[in-house]
């Protein structure tokens, strides 16, 4: 297992992303920052905290569980659902989706479907800590913490303190996982 971002790297990346969000949207008016469960949730909370500090105004947020929208339900053992908590009205708003890793794009596809069922956002943007490539759908991120070239059989792990007890990004090869050292 190889560390590719330390906790402080990750903190700086989130801070930069927050500034890019403000710059792109000329402020934070009409923005809803929406984390995708599970790790997108605390990451969205941190972006909201930085955005509020930078702009000095409250920023709306939400959390989206995409378990009911997956296209691979048949291939998974059991999908555990979590709560979706969104502001009651998203019509006309700018949604910033937040996730830990952008890989095939299928999670984001599911999240876009879930959002469409909740209303008609004016704009949807995507912020991720790591973009590891290998897209299977025409989806890209607007804000990226780190572009990380990977092989398909490698495993990228983003850890966040609220869930995993520490911040940082690690990559591990296929052999490492066979030896059972995966966390």
């Amino acid at each position: 297992m190889r560390a590719v971002m330390s906790g402080s790297d990750m903190g700086r990346a989130l801070r930069r992303i927050a500034h890019e969000i403000v710059e792109r949207n000329r402020g934070t008016g009409g923005i809803i920052v929406v984390g995708i469960r599970t790790r997108g949730g605390p990451l969205a909370d941190r972006l909201v905290a930085i955005l509020e500090e930078v702009e000095g105004a409250a920023v709306a947020s939400g959390i989206l569980d995409i378990g009911m929208y997956r296209d691979d339900l048949d291939q998974r053992p059991r999908t555990v659902l979590g709560p979706t908590e969104m502001p009651s009205q998203i019509d006309g708003k700018t949604i910033v989706l937040v996730d830990d890793v952008l890989y095939t794009g299928r999670t984001i596809r599911a999240a876009l479907d879930a959002l469409a069922d909740l209303g008609r956002a004016a704009v949807v943007q995507l912020a991720v800590v790591v973009d590891r490539g290998h897209r299977e759908l025409p989806i890209r991120a607007d804000f990226v913490g780190k572009n990380l070239p990977t092989a398909r059989d490698e495993h990228v792990m983003v850890r966040v303190a609220e869930i995993d007890g520490e911040d940082g990004v690690w990559i591990e090869g296929p052999q490492a996982r066979e030896e059972g050292s995966a966390a």
Binding site: G67, M68, L73, P77, R78, T79, V80, L81, D117, L118
Partner: protein, 305 residues
């Protein structure tokens, strides 16, 4: 979990995961677009060999809200009238592409037989006087929503326990989730032997009235012989009915549940049925949510996992 056939022996973690998922589907039901694509391409067959309004509609509503297709079977208009066997009927519906069957039948164990014959996931939608597991789930969800947890709750189930698949399902679910259950009925409407029932029994509603957190009223079931075992409807109401007078003696936070259909004037007075502490309509809404959770768990995962 491959099937949902009974509440007997289902562990607490399984019940909790179904209720947790049901909470999420409850939220879906209250969205402007109350539909998710989770079971797109799946077909749910509702095989009701015994009359039902709410359970059948509720399963169909649940399947459609998950984007599954439904095949609906009713005995009145079917080839059963021409002498086709139960086995041939369900195999025919399987051959049409059903991925899951909901089975209601007057005979105990019918759903188990259908599961053997078809090798499909089967949900027991009520078998005779035996089991009705999704009713127990929706009742548990209603209690959990109101009280936060069933742990330590005292619940009285009142009425025709002997002929009731609802009571047989509820006692196991309520007990597993931590509640204390008292069965209240005249001796003729209690099961002859309470061995194996995780509950105590009483012959007097008035004795337990002021001590319980929830009262679960059962319907007097004429079609299962329930009317012939007590002298008159008036006497039943007098001793076991939730009259306005009894309702006023309950603790102020005690709630009343009923599986429906309610017979006003026998087991429940009209004033009680219309009171906000009577949760019948919440139970109906929760029925759709728990059935979504059951269908999602039985059809949403891979078969070999």
């Amino acid at each position: 979990m491959k099937h949902l056939l009974t509440m007997e022996g289902v562990d607490r973690a399984t019940l909790a995961s179904l209720l947790d998922d049901a909470d999420e589907f409850y939220e879906v039901m209250h969205r402007p677009i109350p539909k998710v694509p989770a079971l797109r391409g799946k077909t749910v067959a509702t095989m009701f060999f015994e009359p039902s309004t709410r359970t059948k509609l509720s399963f169909e509503r649940a399947a459609k809200a998950l984007s599954a297709d439904t095949l609906s079977f009713s005995p009145g208009t079917s080839s059963l009238k021409k002498g086709e066997s139960l086995k041939d009927t369900v195999l025919t519906v399987k051959a049409m592409g059903a991925d899951l069957m909901v089975v209601r039948h007057t005979s105990t164990g019918a759903a188990w037989r259908v599961a053997e014959w078809t090798d499909l996931p089967v949900v027991n939608g009520g078998d005779g006087a035996h089991q009705h597991p999704t009713q127990a789930l929706l009742d548990s969800l209603t209690l959990r929503q109101h009280f936060g947890s069933l742990d330590g709750l005292r619940i009285a189930i009142v009425g025709d326990i002997r002929h009731s698949r609802v009571a047989r399902s509820d006692v196991f679910a309520f007990n597993t989730l931590g509640a204390e259950v008292t069965l209240v009925a005249p001796p003729t409407l209690l099961p002859p032997d309470l061995t194996g029932w995780p509950a105590t029994a009483s012959n007097s509603l008035d004795d337990v009235l002021t001590e319980v957190d929830a009262i679960y009223l059962l319907r007097v079931q004429a079609e299962r012989g329930g009317a012939s075992v007590f002298p008159s409807v008036a006497e039943y109401r007098e001793r076991f009915g939730m009259t306005d007078a009894r309702f006023n003696r309950l603790k102020p936070d005690t709630i009343v549940l009923h599986p429906g259909p309610m017979i006003r004037g026998i087991e429940i007075d009209g004033g009680v049925a219309d009171d906000p502490r009577c949760k019948v309509l919440e139970q109906v809404t929760n029925g759709v949510a728990v059935r979504m959770a059951v269908l999602f768990q039985l059809l949403g995962g891979s078969k070999d996992a």
